[in-house]
């Protein structure tokens, strides 16, 4: 009798453990990425961020406003400081991008070849800023396993760009916190599989009722003492952004 009860309990425990483990096992890399991107991006995003570019012998700081409509694939940024760059704006709609240069009071169209170049001298590319390439749509996703990054249990995803996607990366490794799906780290590899730079996400805070990492550090691995730190100063998710925000008229508005 005792032995039967023990077997039942053992069987029950086994089934329960399997059921408990089922969601984790069943989750696909696409779902992990979707959940992570949904938290970080939302449908719309609007706020202010600071960019600190750190080099071995000097630093430069820049503050800018951003507006992002992720469903409509639209992005606008405007530099608030330093004074030298103030009013410089970038507008992206679908695959087209324009810059407004207040020094010459002119809007110029940005060629696609410029997208992978450093943004304002930082370790971020233009594409990192405007997210022309979507991790969700433009990469093939694979779950490599689970690993600990900076003491956090993470899913490790491998993302390989689709053949027609204009990126310089051979692959990305994307580490997502298992408990809350927040990104923890992103590795960028060249086409030969060599690690070029990584971005770590930290300083998790509540902004506009959403828990997000507010500090992103981009570190090029071959350049000692170089890094770029992006900090969200304020951020609002899913607020209604007026349709004419993403327009040439508004891009020039330096007020």
């Amino acid at each position: 009798m005792k032995s039967k009860s023990f077997k039942k309990a053992l069987l029950g425990g086994l089934v329960f453990s399997m059921l408990a483990a089922l969601p984790a096992m069943a989750i696909t890399p696409k779902e992990i990425l979707q959940k992570s991107e949904a938290i970080m991006r939302g449908d719309t995003l609007q706020g202010t961020m600071e960019m600190l570019i750190i080099k071995p012998k000097y630093q430069r700081k820049m503050v800018m406003q951003i507006w992002q409509d992720n469903k409509g694939n639209r992005f606008l940024s405007r530099v608030l400081s330093p004074a030298k760059e103030k009013g410089t704006g970038s507008l992206k709609i679908d695959k087209s991008m324009w810059n407004y240069l207040p020094k010459v009071e002119k809007v110029i169209k940005i060629p696609p070849s410029l997208m992978m170049q450093p943004w304002m001298g930082s370790d971020f590319t233009n594409d990192d800023m405007v997210k022309e390439v979507s991790l969700e749509d433009d990469y093939q996703k694979k779950l490599l396993g689970e690993t600990k990054v900076n003491g956090v249990n993470t899913y490790q995803l491998e993302l390989i760009p689709n053949p027609d996607v204009p990126v310089v990366w051979g692959k990305l490794h994307y580490y997502v916190n298992k408990s809350n799906y927040l990104p923890v780290k992103q590795d960028f590899f060249d086409e030969k599989g060599k690690l070029v730079k990584y971005m770590s996400f930290s300083n998790v805070k509540k902004m506009h009722n959403r828990l997000i990492p507010t500090r992103m550090e981009m570190v090029p691995v071959t350049k000692k003492g170089h890094k770029t730190v992006l900090t969200y100063l304020d951020l609002q998710y899913n607020v209604k952004i007026a349709a004419d925000t993403f327009s040439l008229r508004n891009l020039k508005d330096t007020k």
Binding site: Y58, A83, K84, V104, I108, L114, Q117, L248, R249, K255
Partner: protein, 372 residues
């Protein structure tokens, strides 16, 4: 540090009065006033001539309410030396004379002027801008056949100093990437007045504009395009002019590409207004600011390499294909601080003495600019 002393308009409004009118009298307590600007020191040597200048530019943006705003850019400048005559003075037909010599004494010039001064009204999809403003038409980088209101000289060592035009600009936004501009730029009389229209739109990855107008005594029709091909930026700009002297085409074809770390821009310019034969060059038109180029075929090239976040080197070539003369302009830029830049460069004019660029001596310059 080109100061247009040739400006002669029918109205001479004292500068302080104009600024006071907009800032002082019109600014209610609730309006937001934002001040910025720069101080620049420039030094250049050309042959035996030495020129040095100090410029303070103050920029005021005033937002009266969500519909009305104004911008004033005031320049106070002290220079010593003689500005080289081959630097073209442009836009000498502004309606209101707003530059004034405060003191002139054996090579010393203390002047002040209004670089920009306009009021904007924005209601729904309509913007009206009245005053001295820049109306930047065209997609070419060195040459703009459709920028007839405020053309700039690509040989000017201060590339970001661009004259404005005294005009009324009515802009109707038809969708987020399309608009119609109707511009009236007053001249001293009807023959010097310009009336023009431009429609800009974006279709897929293609930016397209069409323009037409009467620019002083000429009738002009034109257009421009900006798009991309295999990662490169591609631009075309063209105009056809019917003028009392002759009818002519202008065409610009421009390509740029960002290689890893190196930016390259190439541009071809056909100027039907110019001459193939150097003996027929209109130098008087160039010096007076009526023309920006006198030859018929040009090639422009820019190569820019960013060495670090602080330093970059750039080389610019302007080649007159008709007479073989060229201007080579290497520059070195260094960021002294977040808001301070140093630029050192040379404008090296090469060619036979009777050619467009060959007649000018080599020019060395350095500029320091602090923005605030």
């Amino acid at each position: 540090m080109q100061q247009n002393q040739n400006t002669r308009g029918p109205f001479r409004l004292p500068l302080y009065l104009l600024c006071s009118l907009v800032i002082g009298l019109c600014k209610p307590a609730s309006a937001e006033l934002e001040q910025s600007g720069y101080y620049k020191n420039i030094l250049f040597q050309s042959g035996d001539a030495l020129y040095t200048g100090n410029r303070l530019r103050l920029k005021y943006n005033i937002n009266f309410d969500q519909h009305i705003s104004a911008e004033i850019q005031y320049t106070n400048q002290l220079t010593y030396g003689i500005f080289p005559v081959f630097q073209t003075p442009l836009n000498s037909t502004n309606f209101i004379k707003t530059d004034r010599v405060l003191r002139r004494d054996t090579g010393l010039d203390w002047t002040h002027s209004l670089y920009r001064g306009f009021v904007s009204f924005a209601y729904d999809d309509i913007d009206v801008v009245i005053g001295r403003q820049r109306i930047a038409w065209g997609t070419g980088r060195f040459w703009n056949p459709t920028d007839l209101l405020n053309p700039f000289d690509p040989t000017n060592i201060e590339g970001s100093e661009r004259t404005g035009v005294d005009a009324i600009n009515l802009r109707i936004t038809t969708d987020r990437l399309s608009y119609l501009s109707l511009v009236g730029a007053m001249g001293s009389d009807l023959t010097q007045t310009s009336l023009a229209a431009r429609y800009h739109t974006t279709i897929g990855p293609h930016d397209i504009s069409l323009m037409t107008g009467r620019f002083r005594e000429s009738l002009v029709i034109g257009g421009d395009y900006a798009g991309a091909f295999k990662g490169a930026g591609v631009r075309v700009e063209s105009s056809y002019t019917l003028s009392p002297i002759k009818n002519f085409w202008k065409l610009v074809f421009s390509v740029d590409y960002q290689f890893p770390g190196v930016y390259v821009l190439g541009e071809y310019f056909y100027n039907g207004q110019g001459e193939n034969d150097k003996k027929k060059y209109d130098y008087a038109g160039l010096v007076s600011g009526r023309l920006t180029t006198i030859g018929q075929n040009y090639l422009g090239l820019t190569v820019n390499k960013t060495l670090s976040m602080l330093t970059s080197i750039s080389a610019q070539l302007l080649l007159n294909l008709n007479d073989g003369s060229f201007l080579m302009g290497p520059t070195f830029s260094y960021s002294l601080s977040s808001n301070t830049d140093l630029i050192v460069g040379v404008n090296w004019f090469m060619g036979l003495p009777d050619t467009e660029y060959g007649r000018s001596p080599i020019l060395f310059f350095n500029q320091v600019q602090w923005s605030f």
